[in-house]
């Protein structure tokens, strides 16, 4: 029973200390705001996702062409559009 009591007490103390740790570590922080990304950061992220998507689409097309899934005609028709799109996203700073 005493061991159980000891373990229970240690558990409770440990839990309280862990939960209070952020406040114990910084009792009076200069800034306690949960920073949210600004519009600029959100735009940068969206552009980065768009850039990766465009580059990945270009790579997929190249690979599908090499493996015969995309015919030469389809490749010629699509590659220009995708390259242009990729260039736009890179220019946009993505």
């Amino acid at each position: 029973m005493s061991l159980a009591l000891l373990v229970g007490a240690l558990l409770a103390i440990g839990a309280v200390v862990l939960v209070a740790a952020p406040f114990l570590r910084e009792p009076a922080p200069s800034d306690d705001r949960l920073l949210r990304p600004g519009e600029g950061e959100q735009r940068r992220l969206a552009q980065a996702e768009e850039r990766d998507r465009a580059l990945s689409a270009l790579k997929e097309l190249e690979f599908d062409h090499r493996t015969g899934k995309v015919s030469d005609d389809d490749y010629r028709r699509l590659v220009g559009v995708l390259r242009q799109r990729a260039a736009e996203t890179l220019r946009a700073g993505g």
Partner: protein, 662 residues
């Protein structure tokens, strides 16, 4: 010790309530330290739940029958291994396992999924806290594993069906799958609550979703094998509601794993993906409800209990709140791009999604309908095998075909000429196989021939995809065939791991079709020296033998098996009579033929007092491919899960600055 268990559970409950309430307030008001404190509460809840679990395990190991749970699910003669697996053999213990796994997943996901972004993570914590609070509440107030009593001399023992080595791994695997689906759900809700509907929540939970899905898949196959070798009716899947309960979230998660690729590659289907995550999670809760509420009579429903209404209420709350949130965030979830062609890779993914969801929902209706009919009319209607088989054939066979078509079709759009070229070999192989099967007499089952033909088509397309990819990679120069192959897989582990998983599904389909459409069954009453024949095997009954083990008496029939003039060995189907549990179990005997993949399956249906036996013998062609499929599935899942350093670098660069801990 029960006091320590109870105290640990109460501590866990309070910590989870704190994570929910303080975490919500912190995320809503934007308080950094409070959000970090709520996150720490999740970590502490894991510790408290682990302590409670250790207390229960210790009580089981010590046969402490003052714990009602220990007395109800074990006995002194139960071997230690099964005594410990009784942890999840009953309702209270399995709820504790749910909570332990949930807290473990929560801690691991929150600490590692930093790419989700701090504002998303701040909402993920209270979402995980909400689910944890529900389970902790059940354990503290409704179904405590630490209820005590005056200790009886011995316990009631464990259900004999659960006294099988598979019980050590099958339930934990399923729970890792069920509970793991909480992670993508929490991140999806976190993203919606934080109004951040970009890809970060998907990137952050990619591996967690895949892992949960793989656990659920492996868990089901282990369960099927357990049913096959232990339950003793000669099958591995009976469309039991509780078996269906694990299949439904797996199907929804499978649909999500496919459709999420369309969002990643094309920025489409954002609403659909969130809905699939909600569906998969709600179905996993529903699965736990079915298993643990005792609402359905099933081999798996070991207990009747009072937790049903709680579960139903929680499922309704989660479903309503999630759908309301998705509705509120619809403007943020609109896609900018559209499907360019109905003949494209993304279109095949869409068809696959519709079929998977349709299959999951028809199975759900089959499970729910008897309950509804009983509630309305007072009589439970029966939804049996033909209903499920009809929809399995209607949706499953096209899915098998799509599995072969998908890899052959290009993204965005595909011309007929390109399709003709890529389809030539797989289609020719499939047609040739179909004709050969008809010639070999397989036409007795139309569904079987179609399944085999589609399987060959899918397998050929997978092989072709690997071959063409390797060839294309080698053409870039600098490497041989081996190097090109490994570079191909290493550069796109998810795709090629996925193809290996597809191959496992093909093996599964071949195994299921072979063992169900083409199985042979013979039954007969045999006296000693009598014989019967099944699929060319002559079975001679040589009489019974009995032996007494620590917790049961075993009776076995000696059956000698001959094929042609060859003696293939002695097999011993029979029954076990368990003393403490006062139950009898069927113990089957199986002859595996590794060359053909088939099994000779023997069941002692009835042991008669006049020394005769009612023997049931089944010849199940290709059934072992189902278990082989499990290994291939695991291999494919591991390939897909394996970290990709190149991808990690790309994502690190993309999310630079956003990956800040709370």
């Amino acid at each position: 010790m029960p006091d320590l268990g109870r105290a640990a559970l109460v501590t866990s409950f309070l910590l989870l309530v704190y994570a929910l309430v303080a975490g919500s307030f912190a995320a809503w008001s934007g308080r950094r330290r409070l959000a970090a404190s709520a996150q720490n509460a999740l970590i502490a809840a894991f510790g408290a739940t682990a302590v409670a679990s250790v207390v229960l395990l210790a009580a089981l190991a010590r046969h402490d029958f003052s714990f009602q749970y220990v007395a109800q699910h074990t006995s002194r003669e139960l071997p230690l291994g099964y005594t410990l697996t009784a942890f999840w053999g009953g309702q209270e213990g399995s709820l504790l396992l749910w909570l332990l796994v949930l807290c473990g997943y929560s801690v691991a996901a929150v600490l590692t999924a930093r790419r989700a972004g701090r504002e998303v993570l701040a909402w993920v914590v209270p979402t995980l806290g909400l689910v944890g609070t529900f389970f902790a509440l059940l354990l503290v107030f409704v179904a405590s594993p630490f209820a005590t009593q005056a200790a009886p001399a011995d316990g009631a023992g464990l259900n004999p069906s659960l006294q099988n080595p598979y019980m050590a791994v099958h339930p934990p695997m399923l729970y890792l799958g069920y509970v793991g689906l909480t992670v993508p759900f929490a991140f999806a809700m976190g993203a919606l609550l934080a109004r951040r509907t970009d890809e970060r929540w998907i990137v952050a939970t990619r591996r967690w979703t895949l892992a949960a899905w793989a656990f659920l898949g492996v868990g089901q196959l282990l369960g099927a094998h357990w049913a096959y070798v232990e339950i003793g009716w000669g099958g591995y899947y009976a469309w039991d509601p509780v078996e269906n309960a694990a299949l439904m979230p797996w199907l929804a998660a499978t649909a999500f794993l496919h459709s999420v690729m369309i969002q990643e590659k094309r920025g489409m289907l954002k609403v659909w993906n969130v809905l699939l995550v909600v569906l998969a999670f709600c179905l996993s809760l529903f699965g736990t409800f079915l298993t643990r509420s005792g609402i359905i009579q099933s081999i798996h429903s070991f207990t009747q209990s009072s937790i049903g209404p709680w579960f139903l209420g929680f499922i309704c709350l989660i479903t309503a709140a999630s759908l309301a949130l998705v509705f509120l965030r619809l403007p943020l979830l609109r896609s900018k791009t559209r499907l360019e062609s109905l003949v494209s890779r993304e279109a095949t993914f869409l068809y696959n999604n519709l079929l998977l969801v349709a299959l999951a929902l028809t199975i759900l209706w089959g499970v729910v309908y008897p309950l509804l009919s009983e509630a309305v009319t007072g009589e439970a209607a029966t939804v049996s095998k033909p209903y499920y088989n009809f929809f399995l054939h209607s949706f499953g066979l096209p899915l098998l075909l799509l599995m072969g078509i998908g890899p052959l079709v290009a993204w965005r759009r595909a011309s007929l000429r390109a399709l003709g070229r890529t389809f030539l070999w797989p289609a020719s192989a499939a047609v040739a196989a179909g004709i050969a099967l008809l010639g070999a007499g397989a036409g007795s089952s139309r569904v079987g021939v179609i399944a085999y033909t589609f399987s060959i088509f899918a397998l050929a397309s997978i092989v072709l995809e690997f071959a063409r990819g390797t060839s294309a990679r080698r053409a870039l120069g600098g490497v041989g065939w081996g190097g090109a192959f490994s570079s191909l897989v290493a550069r796109n582990r998810r795709r090629y791991g996925g193809y290996v998983v597809h191959a496992s599904v093909v093996l599964l389909a071949i195994g299921v079709a072979g063992s169900s459409a083409y199985q042979t069954v013979r039954e007969g009453r045999l006296h000693p020296a009598d014989s019967m024949t099944v699929a060319g095997n002559r079975l001679v009954f040589r009489g019974f033998e009995t032996r007494t083990e620590s917790n049961h008496r075993a009776i076995r029939a000696n059956i000698d098996v001959y094929r042609g003039g060859d003696y293939l060995g002695r097999y011993r189907p029979g029954k076990n009579q368990y003393f403490a549990e006062d139950q009898v179990s069927n113990e089957v005997s199986i002859r595996h033929d590794l060359l053909t993949g088939g099994d000779l399956f023997l069941i002692a249906d009835q042991v008669n007092t006049d020394g005769s036996i009612d023997l049931k013998a089944l010849q199940k062609p290709l059934v072992n491919l189902i278990w082989l499929a499990g290994l291939v599935f695991l291999g494919g899942s591991l390939i897909a899960l394996w970290p990709d350093a190149r991808e990690e670098r790309r994502l690190a660069e993309r999310y630079e600055g956003a990956a800040v801990q709370i």
